[in-house]
């Protein structure tokens, strides 16, 4: 697990998507199935991941089945970067 990457994702989501800059999102907190990130913001998250980590997420992957927590997203990014 890359704590720094999770922190980067967490701060982006808190500030830009949730508009609560002080909010911390736990590595194992569900973000999609909980509705924390609504469907209109999924594309934002995909664009951020691509710009920041150089990893392209296909739109079909933007569901809770592919990743629901930042830890799972981190693993997905890790596997694509390898």
């Amino acid at each position: 697990m890359n704590a720094e990457r999770i922190e980067t994702l967490s701060s982006h989501i808190a500030a830009k998507i949730l508009k609560q800059p002080n909010r911390k999102i736990g590595a194992d907190e569900p973000v999609i199935s909980s509705g924390l990130i609504d469907s209109f913001s999924l594309v934002d998250l995909a664009l951020f991941v691509e710009d920041t980590f150089g990893v392209h997420l296909d739109d079909a992957e933007l569901t809770a089945e592919t990743f629901d927590t930042l830890r799972e997203l981190d693993q997905l990014i890790e596997s694509r970067q390898a």
Partner: protein
């Protein structure tokens, strides 16, 4: 006039091999369906409904994802003479208990005889049904035989009369009594005739839509109008579109799409979220009208959309507007077809304080109102004051409409139907003004919030917020504030907290998060903006009702807009 089944029969006889619909689904090749395909697929469902003992005229609720099953079963119900109504499918975020409660409430009022859904969802449906429920059958796609040639002469759908109810559209309230807008064959036919003329619809048009079919804009403009009129439809799923908005533009380019309808937020969403690499080779020059409809329309959204896509062939003349509601089947007005959408710069301060639209070219308080256009040929529009009196031009009042395509009534709700009409005119609950024969919508009488084209009732949000321990009983208020970045409204909840002064910031943060969680999972809204306050903050009217507008103003003063 022709009923739905008669129209379909005619297309089946005259143009069996014409492509009626191109069905798109992410990860799968596009599927073109001819009228023969469409009606043979639908016929299989009509037979299944007959076999299970449904009676023509009974209501069928469809709970299916965007799929061919949804398309076929809808028209299957029509061919059988049953009355279809589409209910949104359960989303990941919504609590199953909440969905079950909605379904139970809909069933109690509407008294459907059948529900069509997936096997994995059947237990959810059964759980929502009481033993004495009207639902006699739950029909699953697996029970339906392969498509087969319809014998129209013996299909009960062909016997339906013009004033029979053809379909129901349910409003999206999450609690309280459901209202299903009941529409007759005649009303839909009258709307399609008048609206087709207003948009100059022709068989050469190609309609491209991602809109959900449980909403009037998607169901009428993006589904029934093209399929009943012999105009090609390219249909994608809202679920796929929201994850990859460029799909709409790619489909317009590929199929030389000419017409699309979008809620205002989609203009901003497309302008902001689509990458250049997804636009390679995209040519939007075939688009002759992109029609803004179903939430407040913003001049800035049109400009942002045009700036972003002009280099891909988008024509300025394609920008169009429409004012519509399920109660009039769909459109009330249409603008931007025969000339550019009229922009009316007026004084925002006077619009708010004196309820007058005073023209003003420059200045700090100018708001550029987008005209919704002129009433379509079969619909008359009045702007009325509190006593029902006609108001002069440029004075803001309630919009009332009269047409030959109004709802037959709210299904099984004579109380709600009676309340909605005055002297034959339907009172829309929307505020607006007329100028130069065109209609401008300025706001709403009721405290309805519209987020991304979806209607949200503040009472429902407040009830959820008040259910969170720590929130004072009955002391939460919800309202919408405009978010200029996203082009739609953002929901705000202000809640009075018990022992506010004794709580630490961490405790307050946790409570705010709990309110967000409960509202998000219990409604169609992903709630972000929660403002916790001490006792006595929330203003109420003298009769004890929450004064949402006053609370909204205080919130904007103290906290600011959505970007804050």
């Amino acid at each position: 006039m022709d009923t739905f089944a008669q129209r379909l029969y005619r297309h089946y006889q005259e143009n069996p091999d014409r492509v009626a619909l191109v069905f798109q689904q992410a990860g799968q090749p596009d599927l073109p369906l001819t009228y023969a395909d469409l009606l043979q697929g639908a016929h299989a469902w009509a037979k299944a409904l007959e076999r299970r003992g449904l009676q023509p005229g009974e209501v069928v609720i469809l709970i299916l994802r965007h799929s061919l099953d949804l398309v076929y079963s809808y028209f299957g119900a029509v061919l059988y003479g049953a009355v279809p109504s589409i209910m949104p499918f359960l989303t990941e975020k919504l609590l199953p208990e909440r969905y079950r409660a909605d379904l139970a409430s809909l069933v109690a009022v509407t008294q459907p005889a059948a529900v069509i859904t997936y096997p994995e969802f059947e237990p959810e449906v059964r759980a929502a049904l009481s033993p004495e429920s009207s639902v006699r059958m739950v029909l699953l796609p697996g029970e339906v035989e392969p498509p087969s040639a319809p014998d129209f002469e013996r299909l009960p759908g062909l016997q339906r009369q013009p004033d029979d109810i053809v379909l129901l559209q349910h409003s999206s309230g999450t609690t309280g009594l459901q209202k299903g807008v009941a529409l007759s064959h005649r009303a839909v036919a009258n709307q399609l005739r008048a609206y087709s003329a207003a948009i100059r619809l022709s068989p050469q048009d190609v309609i491209v839509s991602w809109l959900p079919l449980y909403h009037d804009m998607g169901l009428i403009a993006g589904f029934l109008m093209p399929l009943l009129s012999g105009v090609k439809l390219v249909l994608m799923s809202p679920f796929d579109w929201v994850r990859a908005p460029a799909r709409l533009l790619q489909a317009v380019s590929t199929y030389r799409g000419t017409l699309s309808w979008l809620p205002n937020f989609a203009y901003n969403f497309l302008a902001q979220k689509v990458r250049d690499r997804d636009l390679q080779g995209v040519d939007l020059s075939s688009w002759r009208a992109v029609i803004n409809c179903s939430e407040p329309m913003r001049y800035e959204s049109h400009r942002a959309f045009l700036e972003r896509f002009r280099e891909y062939g988008l024509r300025e003349s394609a920008l169009a507007t429409c004012y519509a509601m399920a109660e009039n089947v769909f459109a009330v007005t249409q603008g931007g077809i025969d000339g550019p959408v009229t922009v009316d710069p007026v004084r925002l301060d006077l619009l708010q304080t004196e309820r007058r639209a005073v023209p003003c070219e420059e200045g700090d308080t100018v708001i550029r109102m987008l005209s919704a256009g002129r009433p379509i040929a079969n619909t008359r529009v009045r702007v009325v004051g509190p006593q029902g009196e006609d108001l002069p031009e440029r004075e803001v009042g309630e919009i009332a409409i009269l047409s030959d395509c109004l709802l037959s009534g709210y299904y099984h709700r004579p109380d709600a139907t009676a309340e909605a009409f005055r002297g034959g005119w339907y009172l829309t609950g929307d505020y607006g003004y007329m100028a130069g024969g065109e209609v401008y919508i300025t706001g709403r009488k009721k405290d309805l919030i519209i987020v991304g084209g979806k209607n949200i009732y503040p009472q429902d949000i407040e009830e959820l917020a008040q259910s969170v321990p720590g929130v004072h009983a009955g002391r939460a208020v919800a309202f919408g504030i405009e978010d200029t970045e996203s082009g739609t409204e953002e929901v705000v909840v202000v809640a009075e907290v018990e022992e506010y002064d004794r709580r630490t910031p961490e405790e307050l943060q946790a409570l705010a998060d709990e309110i967000r969680r409960v509202v998000t999972r219990g409604s169609a809204v992903a709630l972000r903006l929660v403002h916790l306050v001490g006792q006595g903050w929330i203003a109420k009217t003298s009769s004890g009702k929450k004064a949402r507008a006053a609370n909204r103003e205080r919130y904007l003063r103290e906290v600011g807009g959505p970007a804050a």
